[in-house]
Amino acid sequence: MIRKTVADAQEALRGVQDGMTFMLGGFGLCGIPENAIAELVQLGIKDITCISNNAGVDDFGLGLLLQKKQIRKMISSYVGENDEFERQMLSGELDVELTPQGTLAEKCRAAQAGFPAFYTPAGYGTEVAEGKETREFNGKMYVLEYAYKSDFSFVKAWKGDEAGNLVFKGTARNFNPCMCGASDITVAEVEELLPAGSLDPNEIHIPGIFIQRIFQGTLYEKRIEQRTVRKRD
């Protein structure tokens, strides 16, 4: 068994530098790598390019990095719910590249699985496809999209083991599995870090081969964006 455990976020983020490109898991505030984000704020790393489906909210998630103006460019599919984001984008401080959500997921998965590029119908005929190669297959038009290249992936899982194997919970899974192994270094933070052999090999969502460093995160806030409930009858 190849051990991937590191002590904490500080050790896990060793090597991050200004100007790097990061992939960050999560959908909205669900399943985001809270500890890695906090450490990036702490380190004050600047001029970051972030590949992440969303940009957090004003005071949580990637919003924390936006507040400190650490992000130079966001690559996302949806960036609503964030006034500071909008302000920086409209003022030109922040570069924003909007990408269809399925394309974003597959650009990560392509990087993970060694595909240089892929054809998707999403965005054909729209400004997203401007300047991109297109091609017809079976009478339908597709756009050629390229795999992302990035320096670090920061993902969040529910349970993990020393070998780097990961299990996710509910919809906190989202982009996290696709980003594992899609960067030079993948850092996984987990709510519960277990000895190797604790997880059933059948139930592992992401094998440890895709992970370089794993640590047990602390103080998860798991903020809810839209608390919707129904009354008991």
Binding site: G80, E81, L98, Q101, T171, V229
Partner: protein
């Protein structure tokens, strides 16, 4: 004239037994409330869940279980969770039978715009571009006119497109329309709405054949 719930109620009648359905944010979300209880339907949310149930009871919200609108949800027996690449595999691979989403504009050629108002609003397309480019069966749920009273059923979209030639059916507060090679074909009128009112609110070509019945909802 229908309200949002009325539109959702009418669309619910398009949901057939055995359908997997993806509901967009806004009016489409309401459709789930009106689907007949004697048919089997599963709702997919592109953030990675199939078999969505109702909102949780107060105090039972789980931050790790949300829908694409970031709302806390529950799951029903037979539900599953999966990653985003798999989720869009379902969508791109046409395993989802019906996609219902909102729009800012629809053109008579089936083009749709719903993600950006240049210089004003840029929230992003989310999964909408993947959904409209892939789905075989797309229904748009929207008001017939915008807040300024201008038609949203146009000859050509004026806003940046979400997808080209993809919309098949539109249900508005005034009418049910089908997108055909010749333009918007009027299928049904909302209760109490005249043909004239619909014509006036529709900028694109409106095709009216025979008697146009009132909706049953």
């Amino acid at each position: 004239m229908l309200d949002k719930n009325g539109i959702a109620k009418r669309i619910a009648r398009e949901v057939k037994d055995g359908y997997y359905v993806n509901l967009g944010i806004g009016i489409p979300t309401l459709v789930a409330n009106f689907v007949r209880s004697d048919i089997s339907v599963e709702f997919q949310s592109e953030n990675g869940v199939l078999g969505m149930g109702p909102f949780p009871y107060e105090g039972e919200e789980d931050p790790d279980i949300i829908n694409a609108g970031k709302q806390t949800i529950t799951t029903l027996p037979g539900a599953s969770f999966f990653d985003s690449a798999t989720s869009f595999g379902m969508i791109r691979g046409q395993h989802v039978d019906l996609t219902i989403l909102g729009a800012m504009e629809v053109a008579e050629n089936g083009d749709i715009a719903n993600w950006k108002i240049p210089g004003k609003m840029v929230k992003g397309m989310g999964g909408a571009m993947d959904l409209v480019a892939s789905a075989e069966n797309i229904i748009v749920a929207m008001m017939h006119t915008n807040k300024a009273g201008k038609s949203k059923l146009l000859k050509r979209c004026t806003l940046p497109l979400t997808g080209v030639g993809c919309v098949k059916k539109i249900v508005t507060n005034l009418a049910v329309l089908e997108v055909t090679d010749q333009g918007f074909k009027l299928l049904e009128r909302a209760p109490g709405i005249s043909l004239e009112a619909i014509k006036e609110a529709t900028e694109g070509i409106l095709i009216v054949q025979d008697e146009v019945p009132e909706m049953e909802i």
